[in-house]
C-alpha cells in the first residue's frame, strides 16, 4: 500500500519528517533474507556518502591535473596532457551516480521524500523509528540542506565539466594550453566551479553524517 500522508497536521509533519529522514535510507540496501523486506537502517545513507566521496575524489584529481597543465608553458609534457585528458573522461563516468541522484532530487522535489513514507512501516528497528521521531526537526533541516546543496552542486557541475572538456580539446589541439587571457579566464572559472561543486558535496557529506548520528542515536555509529 502506498500512503501519501495522513490526516492531521501533526501526524503529517511527523510522516513528512520521518519520510525525509528515511528518504535516502533504503536506497541500495541489501536484504538479509527473502522474507525480510525491511531496509537496513543507514545503508542508503552509506551509499549516498560513498557516491559523494567518489565524486569528490574524482573532482580533486582532475582539478589537480588541471593546475599542473595550466602552469605548464607549451609544449605540455605528454604525460601531464594524457593524465588530464583521462581524468576528464573518468570524471564523466565517476560522476554519473551522484549526478543522477542530484538530478532526481531536484526533479522530484518533495515527491522524492514523500515516496519514502511507505518505508516507515517497513523499518523494523524500533530504536531507529524512535530516533527519527525524536530528532524530526533536525532531520527536516538536514534534508533541506541536502536538497539545496544538491541543487547548487548540480548547477556548478555543468559549467565545470563544460570548461574541462573545452580545455581538454584546446590542450590536445595545441600540445599545450594557449597562454592568452581567454584561456586563463576559462581555467579560472572552471576551477571556481569545481571548487563550488566540492563545497556543496562537502555539505551533503556533513549532513549525511549528522543524519546517521541522529538515527543511530549514541548506540551505533554508522559509517
Amino acid at each position: 500500500m502506498f500512503r501519501h500522508g495522513a490526516p492531521g497536521e501533526g501526524r503529517h509533519v511527523l510522516l513528512t519528517s520521518i519520510s525525509l529522514a528515511l528518504a535516502l535510507m533504503p536506497v541500495g540496501c541489501a536484504t538479509k533474507n527473502s522474507s525480510d523486506n525491511a531496509p537496513e537502517p543507514g545503508s542508503g545513507i552509506v551509499e549516498y556518502k560513498e557516491m559523494t566521496r567518489q565524486a569528490t575524489s574524482s573532482i580533486r584529481s582532475v582539478v589537480n591535473s588541471l593546475d599542473k597543465v595550466a602552469a605548464q608553458a607549451p609544449p605540455c609534457p605528454p604525460k601531464l596532457s594524457n593524465d588530464f585528458s583521462q581524468q576528464v573522461l573518468q570524471l564523466q563516468v565517476d560522476s554519473v551516480r551522484v549526478r543522477a541522484r542530484t538530478q532526481t532530487i531536484e526533479a522530484r522535489g518533495d515527491a522524492y521524500f514523500a515516496s519514502w513514507s511507505e518505508s516507515i512501516a517497513r523499518i523494523k528497528d524500533p530504536q531507529v523509528r524512535a530516533n527519527a521521531e525524536r530528532y524530526r526537526p533536525e532531520l527536516e533541516q538536514s534534508f533541506s540542506k541536502i536538497k539545496l546543496a544538491s541543487q547548487q552542486a548540480g548547477g556548478a557541475f555543468k559549467p565545470f565539466l563544460s570548461g574541462l572538456r573545452l580545455l581538454r580539446v584546446q590542450l590536445e589541439k595545441g600540445s599545450g594550453l594557449p597562454q592568452d587571457d581567454a584561456t586563463k579566464e576559462l581555467v579560472r572559472t572552471t576551477r571556481a566551479h569545481g571548487g563550488e561543486v566540492l563545497r556543496q558535496l562537502g555539505v551533503i557529506d556533513e549532513q549525511l553524517a549528522a543524519i546517521t548520528t541522529m538515527l543511530r542515536g549514541k548506540t551505533v555509529a554508522s559509517n
Binding site: 502506498f2 554519473v96 549526478r99 543522477a100 532526481t104 515516496s115 580539446v169 584546446q170 590536445e172
Partner: protein
C-alpha cells in the same frame, strides 16, 4: 490451427523481442514475474550490444556514431519496457530508484551531444568518437550495476 500458429508466433516474438513487444505494442505489457524476467534479460542484453557497438564504432567513423546512438535508444526502449511490467507496489516503492535510473540514462546520453561539441571545438572526429564510446561503455557498466542492484532490492522478476 491458425489460432495456435498465431499464438506461437506471438509467444516467440514476446520471448525473443521483448523490447519490440513492450516498447511498441499498443496493448499494456503484462505485469508478471515472467514478463519482468524477460525484460530484465532484454535490458542486460541491450547493454551488451551497446557496449559492443562502442568497441567497433571508432573503426567506422562514418557510421559508428549512428550505430551507437541506435543501440543506446534501444537500451532506453528496453528499460521503458521493463518499467511497464512493474506491479503497483514496485512502482510505488521504487519511484525514486527508477527515476534515478532514468536520470542516469539522460546523463549518459549527454555524451552524444558532448561528442558533437568537441568536434565543433576542433577535436578530430576520430578522437571525439573514441572518447564518446569510452564514456558510454564505462558509464553504462556503472548504470547496469545500479540497475541490477535496484531491481534486486525491489524483487523485480521474483516469483
Amino acid at each position: 490451427m491458425v489460432w495456435f500458429c498465431g499464438t506461437g508466433v506471438g509467444l516467440i516474438i514476446t520471448v525473443l523481442c521483448p523490447v519490440l513487444v513492450f516498447a511498441q505494442w499498443p496493448f499494456n505489457a503484462p505485469v508478471t514475474p515472467d514478463a519482468q524476467r524477460n525484460t530484465l534479460a532484454a535490458v542486460r542484453s541491450q547493454v551488451n550490444w551497446l557496449q559492443n557497438a562502442t568497441r567497433t564504432a571508432p573503426n567506422n567513423v562514418s557510421g559508428g556514431y549512428g550505430n551507437v546512438w541506435q543501440q543506446f535508444q534501444a537500451l532506453r526502449a528496453a528499460y521503458t519496457g521493463l518499467t511497464q511490467t512493474l506491479n503497483p507496489q514496485q512502482l510505488a516503492q521504487g519511484a525514486n530508484d527508477f527515476a534515478e535510473l532514468n536520470a542516469g540514462l539522460d546523463i549518459i546520453q549527454e555524451a552524444f551531444t558532448n561528442c558533437q561539441e568537441a568536434v565543433n571545438a576542433g577535436q578530430t572526429q576520430n578522437a571525439a568518437l573514441r572518447d564518446m564510446c569510452q564514456i558510454i561503455r564505462q558509464a553504462t557498466q556503472v548504470w547496469l550495476q545500479e540497475f541490477n542492484n535496484r531491481c534486486a532490492k525491489l524483487r523485480v522478476g521474483w516469483g
